[in-house]
């Protein structure tokens, strides 16, 4: 089975097949013989060339969150059928960044104005939650298109705060 994997914006080509007691997996050109068992729902034990790992996995359709050694990874897995539709989606949505409230809180300060040019890492807005002030930063270069909130207002998790294009 051929799969395409995207992790941290990087693409990997993966081949996977079942062997008698394990899986043979090729990530790009590197080969792994993986003995995988499920200890309980969402908890895997992997043995790869005698090295042992416990991993947690949470899946939602083709998106997975995998935890290994306290590091957490978001992974998308595509097969031949799903690959194309995804590519088209990506092209359409490029260039637009929506800064959303990561949790319920209060807007303390808005650091940018509409029409302002921002760089990756520019401070955009300060939200207070859990008794702490948190500055949200831009992840891309662009122009502030819309500021959807005012200072002092309460916001819910997922609310759109600022749109950058």
């Amino acid at each position: 089975m051929n799969l395409e994997v995207i992790i941290n914006n990087k693409e990997y080509n993966v081949e996977i097949e079942r062997k008698e007691k394990s899986f043979l997996v090729k990530i790009d050109d590197e080969e792994f013989d993986v003995d995988a068992t499920v200890l309980k729902k969402e908890l895997y034990s992997l043995i790869v060339s005698n090295k042992s790992y416990l991993t947690n996995i949470k899946s939602e359709e083709n998106k997975y969150i995998v935890d290994v050694n306290s590091e957490s990874f978001e992974i998308e897995v595509f097969d031949e059928a799903t690959k194309r539709t995804v590519q088209r989606k990506n092209e359409a949505g490029s260039g637009k960044q929506i800064i959303k409230a990561p949790m319920p809180g209060k807007i303390v300060k808005i650091l940018v104005k509409e029409g302002e040019e921002v760089e990756p890492g520019s401070g955009m807005i300060v939200v207070e939650a859990m008794k702490m002030e948190n500055e949200l930063k831009s992840s891309s270069k662009g122009v502030v298109k819309e500021i959807a909130v005012e200072e002092g207002v309460a916001v819910n998790a997922g609310d759109t705060l600022i749109v950058v294009e």
Partner: protein
């Protein structure tokens, strides 16, 4: 001894106190806010009372409600834990008036130590070294300029009613002074309802070292040595250890004597902590006195064998201290890591939510104080502390390696935590050498790091195997519905896969 104790707190510290009460065979009353109905402290206590809505001000800070619940439940003592009402002199005073024992010092002492300028004045008089600066709050800006010139820049402007890093400004030169002063006053006003500030000489990169004290109501007091708390972010401690790598026997004795002077000066009772700043030349200066149980009290318990919460309860009920200073011996080293629901990659942005899976560390030399369980919710309304991991070792390196081992065993999914960040600190070369100060995190630790290549590969392997298995199941379903295979074949297939995965 008390008939029943109400614990006016939540989270891991409420559980810590419930455990001490149960060890003493004293029934406990937990209190909880609306979102805390499913919190572990509620389930572990003998009784539990609802006290109000999520916002602390309507529940855990609601003095009237907590007092009325205490009376209704027949509690004759209240343990406030840390945070919330623990250093609120009005609450302690109210308990005194209502005939309920507040497990802590009396309200007068809390008030004196809560006002930072009063505390400085008292300490200076008692012969405890304080940083150069004012012992009165200053209203007049010109006076601040005058004092700043006298003691020299950098200086620190601090809220007189303050704490927790709020209303604090470091000023490096005269031209920043006016705006910093304005900012500190306004922040202090919002945070504490009191905009008075005072001035202190600012020490560059000091160590933060504190002395634990215990004092009974019969005039006996002891100290339980120091805790090194220099590893901080946002003026909040994240790793503590005892002993400190910089404190030798001579300095320990001098700091212990100074701490006990502070105790005597205000006739302190119960458990308390005298915080000091220590400079590169091993001069130490009084910073503040915490008139409550500290988050990091467990490391002291582990090396001294003294259960501090148990002592708090005994002292509050009028019993005498069991140990005298010469009987207090330190055994080995202890270290604590605080695990927060925060994302270290995003400037420690809180990461509330539901813990999906949890695997806690264990084994020799490990103490794990936590209120978390699989499926529990880390609420946006309160402090994001998930747990405290405390280890013992016969020397510092043994403790450090054990901590690293325990952090490696520890797994929490569903929310972001500081576990991997703590590993980075514990493995840092300068931390290993004990070369730390309050600037350590900013100076020595990269806030974000590239994930290790090995972990990425293992994550990919897990994801593609899961994905592959899903596809297999789907195709089986497909086979069943369209091709009408014999039941025997399907059963055989299920069995085969069942035996493998």
């Amino acid at each position: 001894m008390f008939k029943k104790i109400l614990i006016a707190n939540r989270g891991e510290i409420a559980i810590r106190i419930i455990r001490a009460c149960q060890d003493l065979n004293i029934p406990t009353v937990a209190v909880y806010s609306e979102p805390d109905r499913n919190s572990l402290h509620v389930g572990l206590a003998d009784e539990a009372c609802f006290i109000g809505e999520a916002a602390s001000i309507k529940s855990y800070l609601n003095i009237d409600k907590i007092i009325s619940v205490a009376k209704e439940s027949g509690s004759d003592a209240i343990h406030p834990g840390y945070g919330f009402l623990s250093e609120n002199s009005r609450f302690a005073e109210r308990c005194e008036k209502e005939g309920i024992t507040f497990i802590g010092p009396n309200s007068e002492v809390i008030e004196k130590m809560g006002n930072k300028t009063t505390a400085r004045k008292i300490m200076a008089k008692a012969g405890v070294p304080i940083l150069p600066g004012t012992t009165e709050s200053i209203e007049n800006d010109d006076e601040v300029f005058k004092i700043a010139r006298e003691i020299g820049f950098p200086i620190m402007i601090k809220a007189a009613a303050g704490g927790g890093g709020k209303g604090m400004r470091i000023v490096h030169s005269e031209n920043e002074l006016k705006s910093s002063l304005r900012a500190a006053r306004s922040e202090a006003g919002t945070a504490f309802g009191n905009s008075s500030v005072y001035v202190e000489k600012y020490l560059e990169n000091p160590r933060h070292i504190e002395i634990q004290v215990l004092a009974d109501k019969h005039g006996n007091s002891i100290h339980l040595f120091e805790r090194e708390c220099s590893i901080q972010r946002r003026h909040q401690k994240i790793i503590e250890e005892t002993p400190s790598t910089v404190v030798d026997d001579k300095l320990r004795e001098r700091m212990g004597i100074a701490a006990l002077k502070a105790v005597k000066a205000v006739e302190y009772t119960n458990a308390g902590t005298v915080e000091f700043l220590v400079d590169k030349k091993k001069n130490f200066y009084f910073l503040e006195m915490n008139t409550r149980l500290q988050v990091e009290h467990a490391i002291t318990e582990i090396v001294t064998g003294i259960d501090i919460v148990r002592e708090q309860i005994r002292i509050a009920s009028g019993e005498k201290l069991e140990a005298t200073q010469d009987k207090i011996k330190r055994n080995g080293c202890a270290m604590e890591c605080r695990i927060y629901a925060e994302d270290p990659e995003k400037n420690f942005l809180p990461s509330p939510g539901t813990i999906r899976t949890l695997r806690s560390p264990g084994g020799y030399g490990i103490r794990y104080d936590s209120s978390a369980y699989e499926g529990c919710n880390i609420s946006v309304h309160y402090d994001p502390l998930i747990s405290k991991l405390v280890v013992w070792g016969k020397d510092r390196e043994e403790a450090r390696m054990r901590m690293l081992r325990a952090l490696n065993e520890y797994s929490i999914t569903g929310i972001k935590t500081t576990i991997s960040f703590l590993k980075k600190v514990i493995s840092n070369k300068y931390f290993i050498e004990g070369d730390i100060d309050t600037n350590f995190i900013a100076l020595r630790i990269e806030p974000s790091s590239l994930p290790s290549d090995g972990n990425i590969k293992i994550a990919i392997l897990t994801a593609v195997i899961e994905s592959f298995k899903k596809a297999e199941k789907e195709s089986l379903f497909h086979d069943q519905s369209t091709q009408h295979k014999s039941h025997w074949k399907i059963a055989g297939k299920w069995q085969m896969w069942g035996s493998r995965l």
